[in-house]
Amino acid sequence: MTQTITIAPVRKTIQVKTSAAHAFEVFTAGLDRWWPKDHGIGKTPRKAVLMETRLGGRWYEVAEDGTQTNIGRIVAWEPPQRFVMSWDINSQWKPDTTVASEVEVRFIAEGANATRVELEHRKFERMGAEPGEKMRRDVDGGWPGLLEVFRAHVERA
């Protein structure tokens, strides 16, 4: 599959007044303590969003009824410096391991209580990739679903 559509990665940097180790810990093991309640993908209402803190571990949601929805999988695990996860969400904002974009988060110590956190979400073009032949509902693939989510999001804000 040729992929000539490329979309610039989303890059974010924030400064956190704590150690890199603590920042890493909160971001990963502590995911459920801070992940915004409205940033859900799976079944609602959502009970928790969790990360299995190891290489190959999942980032997943648990709904009130116990349903689990996988968001991604850890593909690089180097605490407390960085981790990379596949983001197995398609442009319909649905779980789909065939279209994974990628999220890398780096924790750079700038002092005992100062950490720069850099996040890069990249390879979006994979989200728009044509679905494999054996898979699914063709015309519903593509950008509109995500744009729809975007619109709902903006209007809610």
Binding site: I5, V10, I14, W34, L119, G142, L147, E148
Partner: protein, 114 residues
């Protein structure tokens, strides 16, 4: 407004197929129409809408016009993710700093003060 245009432009399944035909590079109308179950004028019409929505652009190439995906038009996706991560990271920062300072409020039994 731009988002509204993008949304409505891509809401039509045929138009989406026209758009997706451009994923592997620029094409003339005749190329795009080939294999699609719609007439060439219909394809031209779809391209016009996509162009107005900022999703495709065109340029002359010899005696014909070729159409290609305008990367700017896909900015809507990027912009949404941009905001998505802004919000997430702001929440992360607040929690990381709150729990680092300790003492404060409930940390759900998870203290990480070092």
């Amino acid at each position: 407004m731009a988002y509204g245009n993008t949304l409505s432009a891509l809401a039509d399944p045929t138009r989406r197929r026209v758009f997706e035909r451009l994923k592997d590079g620029p094409h003339a109308v005749a190329d795009i129409a080939r294999g699609l179950p719609v007439s060439r004028p219909a394809v031209s019409q779809h391209l016009k809408v996509l162009k107005e929505a900022g999703l495709v652009a065109d340029r002359p190439e010899g005696t014909r016009r070729v159409y290609y995906i305008d990367p700017q038009g896909l900015g809507a996706l990027r912009k949404w993710l941009d905001q998505f991560w802004d919000e997430a990271l702001a929440a992360f920062q607040a929690e990381a700093e709150r729990s680092a300072q300790g003492g404060g409020k409930d940390t759900q039994g998870r203290k990480h003060d070092k």
